[in-house]
Amino acid sequence: MAHDTVLAAGFADPARDAARAFRLCLNAMARPGTLQDVAPIAAPAPLSAAAATVLLTLADSTTPLFIGTSHDTPEVRAWIAFHTGAPLVDRAQAVFAVGSWAALGPTEAFAQGTAEYPDRSTTLIVERSALTPANARLTGPGIQHAHELRLPDPAAFQANAALFPLGVDFYFTAGTQLAALPRTTKVEAL
């Protein structure tokens, strides 16, 4: 059963499905706080379809991955190994990280980029039970007036934004829903 999930899941038409999924990832990051709907995909629990889609689209053997304890099961490890080949590492070495907000822990433990290469920072995929109702108001690049989103801890994102141009970037995932929050977004609690 677990074995079947590992082998059966993934993109049915890898190049085209990855292209469509990337467009959602791109739109999410370009327009912080907007909700994107990914196509349903079978992934081992507790990995959501949206988190699985981000990993299938962006992760591979060149992108070390941190798995939070919330998601660190043999099935999830096997699925990630089979479909992405991403090596599993500690927080500080991770290009991507996936898990619940609590399991990922303080974001300062992840790579924040350097002054000359601020892009060398972790992208966190934060699994959530829901992306609504909103508890934060977002402004900044990508946002014409203001967007709203449900965030685990608005103050943590204010601290991250204060590090600009350093800092980490976030995807939030719940079921098939996807949203993003780059380091440039200013967050106010509602």
Partner: protein, 284 residues
């Protein structure tokens, strides 16, 4: 039909993932140049291989692609790139700006305002705006990190001292969200005001120099200037001789060997559409 000899949109999946990751970091740090490992493309560097790679990494089968070169859809360069993606990605193509979902461009921003469903991909020859002041990459990286742009201002001010105005008319540098100074590619400075607060996603690819950068929609983009010499998005002081538009960027065209000349919109699709509308109006 897609040519089965190629992967979708030509590039292999590992390369597309690498470019996609760079594009996302580019959007997260607007105006910052993200290094990427540029691939050989089946066309010369001068043909915008950076833009082609960005387009290849972004296209979905459902997209409608427009390709323009200096505002025109029908140059050899634009036609070749359009054909390349028709063959390798089986995407629909168009010359109508409003119908396109992805627009690859060299040297212009279309006259018709872009919308939220659109992505504009720029072909960039030299991504580093500080390169002519400082050839060392290690130094320009430091200058960007510290927002140390005094030398750039000195250069622009020397223009004023020498010419009475800022002479730079293409690739006029901009500052993004009060931090990174960015080269907008060799668009005329007439187009600079469209970089900021644009509804579309703007992506920049430099193939030979292996850099990707980006502007999310509605980003604050300011052309560098001085209080006593404010930025002016100038154009030829004429109207288009074909469609009569007085607010578009014009090319000066020599029409015969006697040296006769006329001014026409550089955005050919915009010009042709206006001419057709005028004709339809006259026929009624």
């Amino acid at each position: 039909m897609t040519d089965q000899a190629y992967n979708f949109a030509y590039l292999d999946e590992a390369t597309k993932r690498m470019i996609r990751r760079a594009l996302l970091k580019g959007l997260a740090i607007p105006g910052y140049q993200v290094p990427f490992a540029s691939r050989e493309m089946p066309m010369p560097y001068g043909w915008g291989t950076g833009g082609v790679q960005v387009t290849a990494a972004c296209l979905t089968p459902e997209d409608t692609l427009k390709v323009i070169d200096q505002g025109a859809d029908d140059t050899t360069n634009a036609v070749s790139i359009r054909k390349f993606f028709e063959r390798t990605a089986d995407v629909a193509t168009t010359e109508a700006t409003a119908e396109a979902t992805v627009i690859q461009t060299r040297h212009r921003i279309p006259e018709v305002p872009l919308t939220e469903g659109q992505i504009l991909v720029y072909q960039v020859p030299i991504p580093e705006p500080l390169r002519f002041l400082e050839p060392r990459e290690s130094e320009t990286r430091k200058m960007h990190a510290l927002s140390e742009y005094g030398l750039m201002h000195v250069k622009l001010y020397e223009d004023i001292a020498r010419h009475g105005a800022i002479a730079t008319s293409y690739a006029y540098p901009v500052q993004v969200e009060g931090h990174y100074v960015m080269d907008p590619s060799p668009i005329p400075k007439f187009d600079n005001p469209k970089l900021g607060d644009n509804a579309a996603i703007q992506l920049f690819g430099a193939g030979r120099e292996q850099r990707i950068y980006a502007l999310p929609p509605y980003t604050r983009v300011v052309s560098l200037d001085f209080e006593d010499h404010p930025f002016e998005p100038t154009k030829a002081d004429h109207s288009c001789d074909l469609c009569g538009a007085g607010d578009t960027y014009l090319d000066e065209v020599i029409t015969d060997d006697q040296g006769s000349r006329m001014f026409v919109c550089s955005d050919t699709n915009y010009c042709v559409t206006r001419q057709a509308e005028a004709e339809a109006g006259a026929a009624q």
